[in-house]
């Protein structure tokens, strides 16, 4: 367990990203950061703040509004031996670059039979709440995980976002690095210097023996809050932060589910053809585990803008707690109290 000392800071998720980026810009002259607004006064929620001043305008620069071509530029630079970090304000904008990511970046290593590699990090931020609406809120995690040749990471804690970003920058493959807007202000203990958190490892955030809750990105926070609610009914939930979607780590889920026999997977996405389907399939197909399972995720509609409907759209600690309670007790006699999710409550926009 980390403790705050002269080597460990209590910093935000956004600052952890900034710290990882600064370390890598210092360590490796081939690293550079580019994307719309990375050198503006807001510095993408502070994650790229003043990098252009600290490291020069050729190592942190703004781009025209053309996602596909800028991704291609990053891929071309990566082929030439650079380590570009491309920043998207929202995951939704990344859709304009799918040709480069799916047709090009993921295939180049294979097509060249290993002679070329594409060490690009594509950072994308999932939006949520305060009216982000249909086109500023998508996760699309499983879309990328579907493609061989890509790695897909979605860290939740400040510690992991720094460690996995350093790993992503040093990885020689295209990495889709998925952040969440609601996590940027969250604080946690983060070592000051260089360290790596490896891909393909999920993280057990909290132990329990009655039910396993698997969260992805922001729904990890929902799971932690649901665990608190379940404690009121003396139900001990184990919370796993999936962290790495491709490669997918099954080991912690398998050992947890063998213990609890009950699994709730909370997608930070639509459930349909999603990551949860993949986890459940692997449990059945490969690991022969007997268990009960429920999936919770976005309602299968575009995300509505009005807050009156948004609540129905997203998973929540209450929904998770209620489903978990019913699985554990086989009773339907509990309506969990509504708890305030700090990140959502405090967010007052505009973006």
């Amino acid at each position: 367990m980390l403790q705050k000392n002269k080597f460990v800071n209590n910093i935000t998720y956004a600052d952890a990203i900034l710290s990882a980026t600064k370390i890598m810009l210092k360590k490796n002259k081939d690293v550079f950061v580019f994307g719309q607004g990375v050198d503006d006064p807001k510095g993408h929620y502070g994650t790229t703040l003043n990098l252009h001043k600290d490291f020069g305008e050729d190592r942190c620069f703004d781009t025209p509004i053309c996602e596909e071509s800028m991704t291609g530029v990053g891929i071309g630079a990566a082929i030439a031996g650079m380590s570009p970090i491309l920043v998207h304000q929202r995951m939704d904008f990344l859709m304009l670059a799918m040709n480069q990511i799916v047709n090009m970046a993921s295939k180049i290593h294979y097509i060249s039979d290993g002679k070329l590699c594409v060490p690009i990090v594509v950072r994308a931020c999932i939006g949520r709440s305060w009216g982000q609406g249909a086109q500023h809120s998508q996760s699309l995690l499983s879309t990328f995980a579907h493609i061989p040749g890509l790695k897909v990471i979605a860290p939740t804690t400040p510690h992991d976002v720094k460690g996995t970003l350093i790993t992503a920058i040093e990885d020689r493959n295209p990495v889709i690095f998925i952040e969440h807007r609601m996590l940027y202000k969250n604080k946690g203990l983060v070592p000051k210097g260089y360290y790596k958190v490896g891909f393909g490892k999920s993280r057990t955030l909290s132990k329990g023996c009655d039910i396993t809750l698997v969260g992805i990105s922001f729904t990890v926070i929902d799971c932690i809050n649901a665990k608190k609610l379940l404690q009121e009914k003396s139900i001990k939930a184990e919370v796993i932060d999936l962290l790495s979607i491709q490669p997918l780590d099954m080991s912690k889920i398998v050992s947890s589910v063998k213990k609890t026999k009950k699994l709730v997977i909370v997608e930070n996405d639509w459930i349909n053809c999603g990551v949860s389907s993949e986890i459940i399939s692997r449990l059945i197909e490969t690991y022969n585990v007997k268990f009960e399972v429920k999936r919770i995720g976005y309602l299968f509609t575009p995300c509505p803008t009005t807050s009156a409907l948004e609540e129905s759209f997203y998973p929540s600690p209450e929904k998770i707690a209620k489903v978990s309670y019913e699985m554990v007790t086989k009773k339907k006699n509990w309506k969990p109290r509504k708890i305030k999710t700090k990140e959502i409550e405090e967010f007052k926009g505009p973006f």
Binding site: C66, E68, G72, V73, G76, A78, G114
Partner: protein
């Protein structure tokens, strides 16, 4: 950059080699030994030869596309391995995982090509950005058709290359066709150079298919890039002799007329180069031997082991 004189002998060798290669592919294609699509360069050879002879071999970086045989051969790619790749053999450029649409040879900085029209253009620009960042005194040559200029990404990439002052030469091979769609069906205004110029990029238009003229203009363009480190755009009119994909003539489809004069352009140019080459007999002998050696090499080579399918999906 040293000013080079146009070398007829070299030009004839490359031109003839491209032509013979494509003709050999046509000859054996029906036997089903090349089990994948081919986009032949017949009719467009002079561009590849002129540009390649003007470029700095092993120093310049070459981005091509799915119609790459001429570029690959002209820039001096490994010929045996190219054939083995067409045959899907383990001795191929990519152990058979790539084929005709994705040829590449890093020995001559020839980047593995893409089958998605226009998709490598931004990568070529990105490569030239890296050259600038690394302060490498080198340039990128990016071949594309006028069809790729229908794509938004061409203009986005062009803008970025001008904005960042990048050392890249765009070589537009304008054959006026996107599969069977005439340029006039796809573009309101046909003056490509005028459009490119408006992005702040220097342009050169070449209307004939004189290899020497292409060579000289490319040399001028590359010198300009070397001097001021900014992009140049070359538009060269050309003619596609056979179908977009595959080995057949496509006149029977009725979408274009067979124009004898255009059909003869490339052969006439080849004849002209031959007339200026003393040792043409020796050269032809050499080419025949290279082709038969490459075919034997490819035929004798093994197919990749089944285990190979899972290698190099990701870099370990």
């Amino acid at each position: 950059m040293k000013i080079k004189k146009f070398d007829y002998e070299k030009a004839y060798y490359l031109f003839k080699k491209i032509r013979c290669t494509e003709e050999k592919i046509i000859e054996i294609y029906e036997s089903n030994i090349i089990k994948s699509p081919v986009h032949l360069s017949l009719g467009q050879e002079s561009i590849a030869v002129g540009v390649a002879l003007a470029s700095e071999k092993k120093k310049d970086i070459v981005f091509s596309n799915y119609r790459s045989h001429a570029h690959f051969i002209a820039h001096g790619g490994n010929f045996k391995k190219m054939w083995a790749e067409l045959f899907g053999k383990e001795t191929g450029l990519s152990s058979g995982k790539a084929g005709s649409m994705h040829l590449g040879d890093l020995g001559i900085n020839f980047i593995f090509t893409s089958a998605i029209v226009g998709s490598a253009i931004s990568q070529a620009v990105g490569y030239s950005l890296a050259l600038k960042m690394k302060k490498l005194n080198s340039k990128v040559i990016c071949y594309h058709g006028e069809g790729a200029m229908d794509q938004g990404t061409f203009w986005e990439s062009l803008n970025f290359s001008a904005l960042k002052k990048l050392p890249i030469l765009f070589v537009c091979e304008n054959n006026g066709l996107a599969i069977y769609s005439d340029q006039r069906k796809r573009m309101k205004t046909l003056d490509i150079c005028k459009k490119v110029k408006s992005f702040g990029v220097h342009t050169i238009k070449i209307k004939d298919n004189s290899t020497k003229n292409i060579f000289q203009n490319t040399q001028k363009a590359l010198q300009r890039i070397k001097k001021n480190g900014q992009p140049v755009f070359l538009e060269i009119s050309t003619y596609r002799e056979v179908d977009h994909v595959g080995i057949n003539y496509d006149f029977a489809l009725g979408y274009r007329k067979k124009e004898k004069q255009k059909m003869m352009k490339s052969l006439n140019e080849l004849k002209f180069l031959k007339q200026n080459t003393k040792n043409f007999k020796q050269i032809e002998k050499k080419i025949n031997k290279e082709i038969s050696d490459a075919l034997n090499y490819s035929l004798k080579s093994n197919f990749p082991h089944k285990k190979c399918i899972g290698s190099n999906v990701t870099k370990e």
